[in-house]
């Protein structure tokens, strides 16, 4: 089973499937009752067009379903984000 320390996740780079930079992971949101991870809170890269993301103050929120891979960086599928929006 693949388990990761949540503390180590913060500060990881978030990228899309094309290798484009989205931002830096700030926090992870989970459902307290079930423990299911629901969202990533990301500090967007300066050059990113944030209009297609859900914004929350200076951060953008990405649904956890859009996450494709997590290792040295976090890969998210932009299509998955748009479908929900």
């Amino acid at each position: 089973m693949k388990k990761i320390s949540a503390q180590k996740l913060s500060g990881k780079m978030v990228m899309d499937l094309d290798g484009g930079e989205i931002g830096i992971l700030h926090n992870v949101v989970a459902d307290a009752a079930t423990g299911m991870l629901s969202e990533l809170v990301v500090k967007p890269a300066a050059e990113l067009d944030t209009s297609e993301f859900k914004e929350e103050g200076e951060y953008i929120v990405i649904p956890f379903q859009a996450v494709k891979a997590i290792k040295d960086v976090i890969i998210v599928d932009r299509e998955g984000i748009r479908e929900r929006a």
């Binding site: 693949k2 388990k3 990761i4 949540a6 503390q7 989970a30 459902d31 423990g35 299911m36 629901s38």
Partner: protein, 95 residues
């Protein structure tokens, strides 16, 4: 209720019988299952968990009964705590 994982760090854990367990240091997440797998706890109360020389334990998230200003878990016997120690050792090997 939705919680930010970073808000858990430093929170105190008690059992549902009011026994202090320790302080949350980190949260272990299962990427494949997309869920929290456990809470890494330090500053362990030796009367709640026998940890020996180890610095902490990982409490499986399924033991958690409530999260608010503090975290409550099911009351467990020392024997089960020893089993968790074993789990933690296995996790450290994976790392």
């Amino acid at each position: 209720m939705e919680i930010e994982l970073s808000s858990l760090y430093g929170q105190d854990i008690y059992t549902d019988r009011g026994v202090y367990v320790g302080k949350i240091e980190d949260v272990s997440v299962d990427i494949k299952e997309k869920r929290i797998s456990g809470l890494a706890v330090r500053n362990i109360n030796p009367y709640a968990f026998k940890v020996g020389k180890k610095k902490g334990v990982i409490i499986p998230y399924r033991w958690v009964t409530a999260i608010g200003d503090i975290v409550l878990i099911k009351h467990v016997s020392r024997r089960r705590a020893a089993e968790e120690e074993k789990e933690r050792e296995e996790e450290e090997i994976e790392k």
